[in-house]
Subunit: 88 residues, 2 copies
């Protein structure tokens, strides 16, 4: 599964559209954000994506976790966000 990498400059509406597309195709999506600005944009995108998929009867929830990533050979702690439909 492709990981949607979110940056502080990412536009929440664009990420939300991508998120809805990935979830429609794969059933769930994984986002990755490093730093407060990126995490904030990712969360806004999830709030918007909930509205995009809601008319199809899908209610999205998100599962946050820590993850270690390598950036320029340096270990950084990123936030991983799994976004998927709530099980009924």
């Amino acid at each position: 599964m492709d990981v949607l990498k979110v940056a502080a400059k990412s536009k929440p509406l664009s990420i939300a559209g991508a998120l809805a597309g990935v979830i429609r195709e794969n059933g769930s999506a994984e986002m990755q954000a490093i730093g407060a600005g990126a995490v904030n944009q990712a969360i806004k995108a999830i709030a918007i994506a909930r509205g995009i998929v809601a008319p199809s009867g899908v209610e999205l929830v998100c599962i946050p976790a820590f993850t270690e990533v390598q950036i320029d050979g340096e270990e950084r702690t990123a936030i991983k966000l799994i976004v998927e439909p709530r099980r009924r």
Copy 2:
């Protein structure tokens, strides 16, 4: 239900403990964060709280939404995060 207000200076571990307590008592919790720094601490707290309650067989998910709040008579957009056990 009391709303856990998270600030950029809030300590994720402390919020996580409060979060786990509120969920144990009420079944779910609501957090509110204004600004990227606060949203970031709130998401870290949820990731930590997932680990706190996991041994009890509870898997927490989070539902982000926008909400308007009044701060010093001014309208601000906050992020509301509902945290609750995943339905099985």
